[in-house]
Amino acid sequence: MRSAVALFLVLAALWLLNSGHYGPLMLFFCVGSCLFVVVLSRRMGVADEEGMPVHLALRAAAYLPWLLKEIVVSNIDVAKRVLRPGKLRISPRIIETPTTQHSDLGRVIFANSITLTPGTISIQVRGSHITVHALADEVADGLLGGEMDRRVTRLEGPAR
């Protein structure tokens, strides 16, 4: 139920911000269409904790700044490798990184974080391992060090 309410609020906010018209008829349309979409999502079974992870909001506020910092650092690293004149300083590797998350949502967040940081791309999630393409040895070792994995597991919270 909490997810459905959150979905309704997000949809209504999107509608109101994008329309710019606030007459009574338009507001009626807004509420009507948002309710319709919420009912459809509930019937499809996507308005659940996985689709609207509101319970993560607080811990995500702690994770996002670290992720953004990580993205900026790895962007600069890859940019340096691209701009280096002469032979490219890359040695691509395929690695299997273990995951310690207990839910699919946690693994999706981890795989997406890997892809968001340039230098590493998640190719495949299989069981509790993610196949990753890394641009260089140092980048691969950084990921295998497991700090991102630990932080995503902390973001995910205790198993229920």
């Binding site: 911000l17 962007n75 691209v82 691509p92 892809t115 968001l116 340039p118 190719i123 495949q124």
Partner: protein, 111 residues
């Protein structure tokens, strides 16, 4: 915010964003194989696009425009890793094998 400061920030963010966009473009041309080309494309999608969009926020006249820029930002944040991953996985399952480090060294030795 003082107007001069907004203009300075606008210039700074737009120029920095443009530089990262260009680096992404150069990388897309320079990298040796498909998988290594996804990384510079990621630079364009993340830092390049974000810096340009944040820069535009300093020039927006009304808060509705700012909100739309934030929406674009969030949308790019969510979709760019998804499409990169879809591409990589499709290529991997189709049997396209990445060029690995030792192959690159062998090629360099052949030259």
């Amino acid at each position: 915010m003082a107007p001069q400061l907004a203009v300075i920030l606008l210039w700074a963010f737009l120029v920095a964003g443009s530089i990262f966009l260009l680096i992404g473009g150069i990388g897309l041309l320079r990298m040796p194989d498909f998988y290594s080309r996804i990384h510079p494309a990621g630079i364009t999608d993340t830092l390049g696009a974000w810096l340009v969009l944040i820069g535009l926020m300093f020039a927006s006249a009304s808060w509705l425009v700012t909100v739309k820029l934030v929406m674009l930002l969030i949308f790019l944040f969510i979709t760019s890793p998804l499409s990169s991953h879809a591409l990589a996985k499709a290529a991997y399952l189709r049997g396209l094998r990445p060029m690995l480090g030792h192959q690159l060294e062998r090629e360099a030795a052949d030259d």
